[in-house]
């Protein structure tokens, strides 16, 4: 009986974290995706391109570096699934949504800040990611990832 209690003590908290991570994490994720789509619709008239140079026909009045940055972390459930993936390999589905959200959030922040400052086009968009923190755990798992979007915002003459 005691050993079962021990097992419960060992397994219980992670299980609660797992369930909490899943339900809360999914709700947050679903709402973030809805919000992302709405903001993308709202800002769709501001073109963002990866062009290195300003097209010859454009008359640029002003240019400025704009950035959008987003730092994301895993929830317990995603980390758990990723831990299992370490054994078998394959697509890390739970991280895909996470990274997708981070990329889109970073680009949206870039667009929104550019639009607020009066710019109407962005060229030379680049994305960077960096690992900002390493866990103390033995497996050295990633705790957070930063996605940085940067580009050149342009104010064009009519």
């Amino acid at each position: 009986v005691e050993s079962w209690i021990n097992v419960a003590i060992q397994v219980g908290p992670p299980l609660v974290l797992l369930l909490g991570g899943y339900f809360i994490g999914s709700a947050v994720e679903a709402s973030h995706f809805r919000q992302l789509r709405a903001r993308e619709l709202r800002s769709r008239n501001l073109p963002v391109m990866t062009l290195r140079e300003v097209p010859a026909s454009w008359k640029v009045e002003e240019a400025m570096l704009v950035t959008g940055c987003c730092v994301i972390s895993l929830d317990y459930f995603k980390r758990f699934v990723a831990g299992l993936r370490l054994i078998f390999g394959g697509r890390l589905g739970t991280y895909e949504t996470l990274m997708d959200r981070a990329r889109r959030e970073a680009v949206l922040r870039l667009k929104e800040s550019a639009f607020e400052a009066g710019y109407r086009a962005i060229i030379g968009l680049r994305l960077e990611t960096s690992q900002i923190a390493k866990g103390n755990r033995q497996n050295g798992g990633t705790v957070g990832v930063e996605v940085l979007a940067f580009g050149t915002a342009l104010r064009l003459a009519k």
Partner: protein, 268 residues
């Protein structure tokens, strides 16, 4: 340049698999792999327990469990421990095929317990040493542990314990369960042995005690000191759940064997 303000699809970078389905498949696969590994490990343990020569066993595990006694600062050097060591040597002498050189270590723990550890080390807790009231009683406990060596149960137990703790670590995560040797050893003692192994060790102990003293009075006294951890569950549930036979059934088995072999009365 004309600009077409349409949004691209927003689901291209995301897998369609539901995260729960992904988790479910992975868990099932991990479980299957873990079970297979555990089965292999159990089988390997069985092979080792059967075929590992005691000499190799002593070399392998040599002084591993000395640390347990030394860490608590109670190396077996007092009078009680010395007497127990001497008793152990006398008992072992009644086992003609004994391939082991037994050593006694005292675990600095208040609980009542004794363990058979690989390499010929028998650990008894300080609590047990303090609680026993007759030499016969202690002799029975030591004989019981020698019986585990005779059945090579201790190797099976350590293998099972290792497999279990490794599985637990794999499931819960490495940092959550740091298995130190003392807790590991007590794990062995608490659920390491199967019921028939315990019964055989009891019978072995009874024979040794009789060989040493020509009588077996008080051999069952140890059982009276064991707190019955399973009392709340009722006898039947206990005998099902427990890896140790219920105290009373062990006492009954002892009495039956004493009667059958003509050892005389077990009770004090």
């Amino acid at each position: 340049v004309t600009f077409d303000p349409r949004l691209p699809r927003d689901d291209v970078n995301v897998s369609k698999t539901h995260p729960l389905a992904e988790a479910g498949w992975l868990l099932a696969a991990a479980l299957a792999a873990g079970l297979l590994l555990a089965l292999l490990a159990f089988a390997a343990t069985e092979v080792v327990a059967r075929w590992l020569p005691p000499r190799a066993e002593a070399r392998l595990f040599g002084n591993l469990f000395d640390a347990m006694a030394v860490e608590g600062g109670q190396r077996a050097q007092d009078e009680k421990a010395d007497r127990a060591s001497a008793l152990l040597a006398r008992l072992a002498a009644h086992w003609p095929e004994n391939p082991y050189t037994f050593r006694l270590v005292v675990a600095p723990d208040e609980s009542l317990n004794a363990f058979a550890l690989p390499g010929g080390t028998i650990a008894v807790t300080r609590g047990l040493l303090d609680a026993v009231q007759s030499e016969n009683e202690l002799a029975f406990v030591l004989g019981h542990e020698i019986g585990h060596f005779a059945g090579r149960d201790h190797l099976r137990a350590i293998g099972r314990g290792l497999v279990l703790s490794l599985l637990l670590r794999a499931i819960v995560g490495a940092s959550a369960t740091d298995v130190t040797i003392p807790t590991f050893a007590s794990e062995l003692a608490s659920r390491g042995f199967a019921r028939d192994q315990e019964s055989r060790a009891d019978a072995f102990a009874l024979d040794l005690v009789y060989a040493e003293y020509g009588q077996v009075r008080g051999a069952d006294a140890f059982f009276a000191r064991l707190p019955d951890a399973h009392a709340g569950f009722g006898q039947r549930a206990a005998s099902w759940l427990s890896t140790h036979p219920v105290t009373q059934s062990r006492i009954d088995a002892l009495r039956a064997r004493a009667k059958e072999k003509g050892y005389g009365d077990v009770a004090n």
